[in-house]
């Protein structure tokens, strides 16, 4: 039983890492009231998934997918390309989020969710 668990941890550690990172990011999004911290949580959440993609692309003994002479194994380049696109999306999302936070700060004078909600109620 214990050996099984150790076996899972040793062979599937990439899943464990990505899921713990995702949970961490999720906590940041839900548990923190500071909007910037929420955005940081969101980024961690996104990057955890990128990590998952990159880790499933690995092929045992594979090298970086650049053409070289001779018979070699390459890692799967497709997830890398997909994640390149997803990173661009993540950056854009972060930019939109930060610009929203800047405008929220100018409008409400705070980046704390509770204070903003209180000001909204006052209206």
């Amino acid at each position: 039983m214990v050996l099984d668990i150790i076996d899972v941890i040793l062979t599937k550690y990439n899943y464990i890492i990505y899921i713990s990172l995702m949970t961490l990011g999720f906590y940041g999004m839900i548990g923190k009231s500071n909007l910037i911290k929420k955005l940081i949580g969101m980024s961690v959440f996104q990057y955890a998934i990128f990590l998952f993609y990159i880790s499933i692309a690995d092929v045992e003994g594979g090298i970086a997918p650049i053409l070289v002479e001779g018979e070699v194994t390459y890692t799967n380049p497709l997830p890398h390309v997909l994640i390149l696109t997803a990173i661009v999306v993540a950056v854009s999302t972060l930019a939109v989020g930060l610009s929203l936070v800047i405008r929220i700060y100018r409008e409400f004078g705070s980046v704390d969710e509770n204070k903003i909600l209180m000001r909204l109620k006052d209206d």
Binding site: M29, P79, V89, V96, G97, L100, V101, E107
Partner: protein, 495 residues
Amino acid sequence: MIEELSNHLPILLIVSGLIGAFLTPLIGLIRKELCSFWASFITLIQFFISIILFYQAIQVGRISYWLGGWEPPWGIEYAIDILNSFILVVVSTICLSVAIYGRKSLLKEVPEKEVQLYTLYILLCTGMLGIIITGDVFNLYVFLEISSLAAYALVAVGDRNSLVASFNYMIMGTVSACFILLGIGYLYLMTGTLNMADLSRLLPPLYGRPAILIGLALLIVGLSIKTALFPLHTWLPDAYTHSPSAISALLSGTFTKVGIYVLIRLIYSIFGLEYFLRNVDIFVFISWVASAGIIFGAIMAIAQDDFKRMLAYSSISQIGYIALGISLANNFALAGSLLHIFGHSLMKTGLFMVAGALIYSKGIKRVSQLEGMGNVMPLTMAAFLIGALSMIGIPPTIGFASKYLILLGAVESGEWVFVVVILFSSLLTAVYFWKVFEKVFFGENKWKKGGKEIPLSMLLPTMALAILSLLGGFFAPVLIKVFELWMSGVIPGGV
């Protein structure tokens, strides 16, 4: 040349939008006023292309376009069948009518920002059309994010509260997009392909594997957030209430429908009904959740005084109908759902346009201020009346046809609880619209008689959508015939 071009229509639909969106800043440098005409022009092109594609799809059955000439499953494929060409027509109709409507409405509600607004507007429309047309799941994710990012920014240009609404929408939307990305990752991990047609071929032998189940669960949760299916709807009311009216009209009519489309595609095309009937019965769960959403949305709508907020909650209720129809999984219900996607787009966009018209001409946002508007803006209010009657489901409107079909589907499945839910919620819908009717048509007239109607460029799309939703009921049998062509392939046992 024309012959040649007609083979490239799927990509021209998207490229015209991309070129259009990124030329908007340059046009804005010349003259700002031109931007809105430009947006109408681009959406008009997309509308025509969609119509032609729909026609072609009915003729041929399935059109496949290979990007860069790479053969699927290696390359990205744009696959068009009857289902998605129909949704293309629905979405592009709404995009076009809102673009025409928005010229005056957006200018009044958000002055001095045409350039950015219309760039994002065209991007949002193109992104949605891209989601519908693509046959590649990762491409779908990218288009989903393009349109979502545009939608966050467009929601944020509304009033003061819209910033917070947009922020919440963004957080929810990103979580949903991440779930979708992760779900796609699991499917890719198991099958090694991203092409939808290829997935549907490779998935059946893997039906029993837990990783497939995880992927499906992530995809369904992610899409449910995007479509604002009941318990995951929390971003919707705020986003629709505080964004500019034209944007609420566009989002309510199209964005949630696109999510529903992807859900239908996922359940019926990619996974196949077989999987759900044999391995995991999520339909029971979805149908109960959808029924809860139908009732919840309707009751919340009754409680609202803000006109747009009422319509937003009504949207949640109506999305419940569509999801219920999908999860009943028989011919009647699915046809009803598809028809309701069409009908609800027309009605809800029309109703939001009426809400925008009230803000435009009198600055009215609340139902309680609507007294006697029937005399002041008779044509706009007539459009409202038709939209609301269709929403309640009074024959011969399209709302009646679609609800009737879903009802028949529930009877066919022997699910009498849902029959009761549908009938009861129609009653609730009548209650919240009656609240408005009472004020509009029977309220004391405080306004001077013969007041000003809204400008023609706003009135025309509003009336057009209202008339379409009235006539839609008559066209329903024709549309159902078309759906049957598609459904006979996905529902085992034939029509």
